[in-house]
Subunit: 211 residues, 2 copies
């Protein structure tokens, strides 16, 4: 099921409900998509303005990348629901004899790997949004620089939220090499994006004070 | 106009468009509302489970507070659009003679005060959501503790995003006492919520590693 065609209000109802999906993984994807959308907004309010003609080509390139990420992150919401449901289905398999137990265990491990890689991919997409925000804040229309700041905050919350979904699934994975490589990947993303987010936030604050 | 009845996908389209509203202020309100919704989700997946009977009364109280905040933050989205549009309308007033200039300036100052207090109120609501997250992570169903973590991250992104909207409007306010008191208020909120968010994030990570 895809929640992107639900109203904002119904999506929030579904998030709050006792249904396990949508949950934090979907919220992460939506926050990442909001971050990308706000980069696009700043670009759209910059392109065509004579004052910003010197950076128009760069801003158009930022817009194209942001729009691609916005769509990919919205799709990540549906992926999150799908892999979560697959993990639940695997845990629900019968375990009456050794053959069933082995099949169930293999299905759980396979589902948990996918349920690790999907939020990791979401975190990577959100990190790419963060990578657009400094240029957006520096080159975009200064009247909407606060929106570039909100973009980086939303995308960073998405990275950290997706990371929690990586951790929760890694916890059940028996293949230590797989688990270790994903833990390393998400921790590198967390470290890089934390630094960049704070730098962009301070840049935006400084531009707002200079008004 | 209220965007809560738009689909998630249309809301993101509107956010990305060159229309000035919805913008970062609305995104802040939605993130805060998502944080509250995730607190509710954890509570809803805890209430009624025998294992959690000893904390059921507390969790029911958390749920009631989260649901109130979720609704208030969704309303904050409409407030954001309204005050932003009011600021734009004030700037658009005629300024052909001194009387018009004085009236326009007064209208701008009045609109900017409201456009400062509305995101400040949004930040306070999101900070209240953060205030629920530690108890949610500690007492809620441990199987969904990652959702309590996403809740605090979404709410914190909301506080910081709303803060940028406070700063941008304070910048145009001539009443130094008003501006100073709001700057102090938002900076106190930023400091308190940053500490609490990191503490809850680490608590959630520790619980996930203990799985």
């Amino acid at each position: 099921m895809s929640f992107k065609n639900e109203t904002v209000s119904s999506f929030l109802d579904a998030l709050a409900s006792q249904a396990s999906t949508p949950g934090g993984g979907s919220a992460a994807a939506v926050m990442g998509s909001m971050g990308a959308a706000l980069v696009s907004m700043v670009c759209n309010l910059t392109i065509g303005k004579p004052k910003y003609a010197p950076v128009e080509a760069e801003v158009k390139a930022l817009l194209a990348r942001a729009e691609g990420l916005r769509a990919a992150l919205l799709d990540a919401m549906a992926d999150d629901v799908r892999v979560f449901d697959a993990v639940m289905a695997a845990y629900g398999l019968p375990k009456d004899d050794d053959a069933q137990k082995a099949a169930r265990s293999a299905a759980i491990q396979s589902a948990l790997r996918e349920a690790t890689d999907v939020p990791l991919a979401c975190a990577r997409l959100a990190a790419e949004v963060i990578g657009l925000c400094r240029a957006t804040a520096e080159q975009g229309n200064v009247n909407v620089v606060s929106d570039a700041g909100v973009a980086v905050l939303a995308a960073h919350a998405a990275v950290r939220s997706a990371a929690l979904n990586v951790y929760i699934n890694i916890g059940g994975i028996k293949d230590a090499e797989f688990a270790g490589s994903r833990r390393e990947a998400i921790e590198a993303l967390l470290a890089d994006t934390a630094r960049e987010t704070e730098a962009v936030f301070e840049l935006v604050k400084a531009k707002l004070s200079g008004h």
